[in-house]
């Protein structure tokens, strides 16, 4: 039994970062005293060479199934597409570059609610930068968000003004990446939201905003409901707008209600088809049996790659065969390799089990009526679900910003980092 995750964590256990005067807190606040359990430890990623060698060996030893019996992706990742990608992964792909990208950023871990939470924390050099905590989803990670850090923290270099700067906090979800894997149950989006509020407080922020898509969307909805005093507003790029009566019809396969507008009807049709053709199967499988799916993914790099790429967000991704497409082949492999090296296929899948089947896009399941703080929404038009403004207004009583942008899909920050950053600037303009 190979113990394959051996992170050499260069973690300095004294709280260097928190020594008086060292960090420049944008809001100038310093926690008065830090209990040992609340320490924030600098973190660097350094995967032992043996781990990378073992991964390459496993990739070489992959035992493949025969080719699918169709000439399209309707049975899943196509053998002829997956095989070259995995071959590239095992031969030419260089994890050290990804590691260097992460280590170029200030990373930390801190223990919250019993779990070590890893996060990237980049402070803007601009005065009065607005702190923002951004949550990734599945099958993503902090890698999806790297491209937006500089545009947000350093806007003047990316077409923005100094007044639009953000301090950026990007945590890894519990069970994902370099965060710890919970050993107890209960880590649903609500509990993660509470942990994020603790994190922001621990960082000394008295006024901040939060953003998320995918599971990050469920987390920001929960943060919005919990409304910690310091949270000023939230932005969501997978908003929970599907009305209860429409959701019920979609999940039971019924006919569209007659009173839908043309735009609502189009969304209804897409979601109905999505449910009917079983495209939610990956979701169902992880909701029901995360551990059952976990064994094959923990033990097979090709299996892990195929499973992560099954996500509808990758439906139009061309396995690196289109050099202009974002995310690039290397970027997608950075993310898959992170899941492999941290052995988080099963632990990350558990968020589906913990969530107990509450749809992230359902207004009722996400209790959007209980969100009283300001909500901003950007709909990226290439996402599967294009929330109509009419539904968004019904769902979120305090909707202060709604925009549909033409480019970008499910992994908006990964695909369109500049556009995503511009949306953050615009959405939160009046909350500075």
């Amino acid at each position: 039994m190979i113990q394959s995750i051996k992170l050499l964590v260069i973690a300095l256990f004294f709280g260097t970062l928190l020594l008086q005067g060292k960090p420049v807190h944008a809001q100038g606040a310093q926690p008065a005293s830090i209990a040992a359990t609340e320490s924030i430890r600098p973190f660097k990623v350094k995967i032992p060479a043996a781990e990378i060698k073992a991964l390459r060996q496993r990739i070489r030893d992959t035992r493949w199934p025969d080719q699918e019996t169709v000439s399209d992706p309707s049975q899943g990742a196509r053998l002829a597409q997956l095989k070259p990608l995995v071959a590239y992964w095992g031969r030419d792909y260089d994890w050290r570059k990804a590691e260097a990208r992460l280590n170029a950023l200030p990373q930390f871990t801190t223990t919250i609610d019993g779990v070590d939470i890893h996060f990237i924390h980049v402070r803007s050099k601009e005065a009065n930068a607005l702190p923002i905590i951004i949550s990734h989803g599945w099958p993503g990670s902090v890698f999806e968000l790297l491209g937006v850090i500089d545009p947000l923290a350093n806007p003047t270099a990316h077409g923005g003004t100094a007044a639009e700067a953000f301090d950026v906090v990007i945590p890894s979800l519990p069970g994902f990446g370099f965060s710890g894997k919970p050993t107890d149950t209960g880590w649903d989006p609500d509990r993660i939201a509470k942990a994020w509020a603790v994190l922001m407080k621990r960082l000394g922020y008295h006024r901040y905003v939060a953003q998320g898509g995918d599971w990050g969307a469920a987390i920001v909805n929960a943060m919005g409901r919990q409304a910690p005093a310091e949270l000023v507003a939230i932005h969501n790029n997978l908003p929970a707008t599907v009305p209860a009566e429409v959701g019920k019809i979609i999940s039971t396969g019924g006919q569209a209600p007659a009173d839908l507008s043309a735009q609502e009807r189009a969304v209804f049709d897409v979601l109905s088809k999505f449910y009917k053709d079983g495209s939610t199967a990956y979701n169902t499988a992880m909701t029901a049996r995360p551990q059952a799916i976990g064994y094959g993914l923990a033990d097979s790099p090709a299996g892990l790659a195929a499973w992560l790429l099954l996500h509808p967000g990758f439906a139009t991704w061309r396995f690196g065969n289109d050099a202009a497409q974002t995310p690039s082949k290397d970027e997608v492999l950075d993310n898959i390799t992170l899941y492999w090296l941290t052995n988080t296929a099963a632990s990350s899948a558990r968020i589906y089990w913990e969530n107990k089947g509450k749809p992230v896009i359902s207004a009722a399941a996400q209790k959007t009526q209980d969100i009283k703080i300001p909500v901003a929404i950007t709909v990226f038009a290439e996402d599967i679900y294009r929330a109509p403004e009419s539904w968004a207004r019904r769902a979120y009583p305090n909707l202060v910003y709604f925009k549909e942008v033409a480019k970008g899909g499910h992994f908006a920050s990964w695909e369109q980092p500049q556009l995503f950053s511009e949306e953050m600037r615009a959405a939160f303009k009046s909350y500075r």
Partner: protein
């Protein structure tokens, strides 16, 4: 990329076996082969030592996930169970015994509808034995049917009478075990049913019965829908007999209707549990079977995926690996999993879910005689009232006190007795 499938098929391509006079056909009708495409070739199973060594190496090198965060099976196969299985697999388990057992029966291959179909064919020594074609399901194989071969063909050694004897035909489904993996689409239960009808005809049987559970039920009931003149009746241990209104209530997640009697209520609750907690694997395979690359590449991934079929079977298998003697042994479980591994059929077998267009448990309008054995730990124990409604020509119904989804494997004695009783009136 290692090529681990290495079947040394000792297939005598001459049709020696079928020369007139070499075989005693139970129904006395030896026949001549009109064209070589119809040939039936003897088949022996042998995997290379290298394939077995590679499997062992992979199991030993397993990279494990973290333990589940619960103390029960609600997140799927538990780490401690699968680690016990893996340990037994690499230290005590011997595939060669399974191979010898399989090779102790007459195995054959014949090409039907463009596909090589493997089957075991054991003729009874008793005259007028009734031919029966038994169809396995997923995640089963011919392995689950082996224990009932002798009780069916040789009943006098098992408390039965000579006139209870059967000739037994056990095919491997397309894409399963030693049958060929389809390269094209269309191999759904109906097409397989047509292939089985062809197979029985090719074997010269003019009157026979069919039996199945799981996918075997779908195939068997489709044979009954096609209703060739030679098919006298069918037996199922997982009938498609859930009434439409019950199905509707289940899909819309309603509580059991008040009008149900005790048996119906129990069945409703079993189905409700299955629909809510047990259907995920089927939906995944129905939607994106090819995505399961991990279970083709990881023996432990394959084993856990197979163990996760249904909660009662999982509990039974867990008990077995905890040392509690039950209807199936550790070797039984690993014979079946190893068969999937060595034949490289994890994904090809899953495609049957993708191919299928029938709705699980929905009555198919079967008019010919049907016999049903309802085992208590099946996905649902079919109530008599539903079965009578689904099958107007019900010739046998029995509720068994013990047994689950893999009834032939787990309860071979009661299962064989059920088959004898079920078809008595059709002889």
């Amino acid at each position: 990329m290692k090529k681990t499938k290495n079947i040394l098929a000792t297939a005598a391509l001459s049709i020696g076996l079928l020369l007139p006079g070499t075989l005693t056909f139970a129904q006395g009708n030896s026949y001549s082969i009109s064209k070589p495409a119809d040939s039936i070739r003897p088949f022996k199973i042998h995997f290379s030592d290298a394939a077995l060594k590679d499997l062992k190496k992979r199991v030993q090198a397993t990279k494990w996930p973290q333990k589940e965060t619960v103390t029960d099976a609600t997140q799927g196969v538990q780490l401690s169970t699968i680690q016990k299985l893996a340990k037994y697999w690499t230290t005590q388990y011997d595939w060669r015994k399974a191979e010898a057992k399989l090779n102790s029966y007459p195995n054959f291959i014949t090409n039907i509808d463009g596909l090589d179909i493997h089957f075991i064919h054991v003729r009874s020594k008793h005259p007028n034995a009734l031919p029966i074609i038994l169809t396995h399901g997923w995640p089963g194989s011919i392995i689950e049917e082996l224990k009932i071969i002798d009780p069916l063909t040789n009943p006098t050694a098992y408390g039965g009478k000579a006139e209870d004897a059967f000739d037994v035909i056990i095919p491997s489904l397309p894409g399963y075990g030693f049958s060929e993996q389809p390269k094209t689409t269309g191999w759904d239960p109906t097409r397989i049913a047509h292939a089985w009808i062809t197979l029985m005809k090719r074997l010269g049987y003019k009157r026979y019965v069919a039996q199945g559970g799981d996918w075997g039920d779908a195939v068997t009931e489709q044979m009954a829908v096609i209703a060739p003149a030679a098919l006298a009746g069918i037996h199922t241990n997982m009938p498609s007999a859930v009434p439409a209104e019950i199905s509707g209530a289940l899909w819309s997640r309603q509580a059991a209707p008040d009008s149900l009697n005790a048996d119906e209520k129990r069945a409703y609750e079993q189905l409700d549990f299955f629909f809510k907690h047990g259907l995920a694997y089927a939906q995944e395979m129905g939607n994106k079977p090819q995505t399961l690359y991990g279970i083709e590449d990881s023996p432990v991934g394959l084993a856990s995926w197979i163990l996760d079929h249904d909660i009662r079977s999982y509990e039974l298998i867990t008990r077995t690996f905890d040392g509690v003697p039950e209807g199936i042994t550790k070797d039984d479980v690993l014979d079946n999993i190893t068969l999937y591994w060595l034949t490289n059929t994890a994904v090809s077998s899953a495609r049957l879910y993708w191919e299928n267009k029938l709705i699980f448990f929905q009555p198919m309008n079967v008019k010919i005689p049907v016999a049903v054995s309802a085992y208590p730990d099946e996905l649902y124990q079919a109530p008599k009232s539903w079965v009578e409604k689904a099958f107007p020509n019900l010739i046998h119904y029995n509720r068994l006190p013990k047994g689950g989804h893999f009834a032939a494997w787990e309860q071979p004695a009661s299962f064989s007795q059920e088959i004898r009783t079920a078809f008595k009136s059709l002889r």
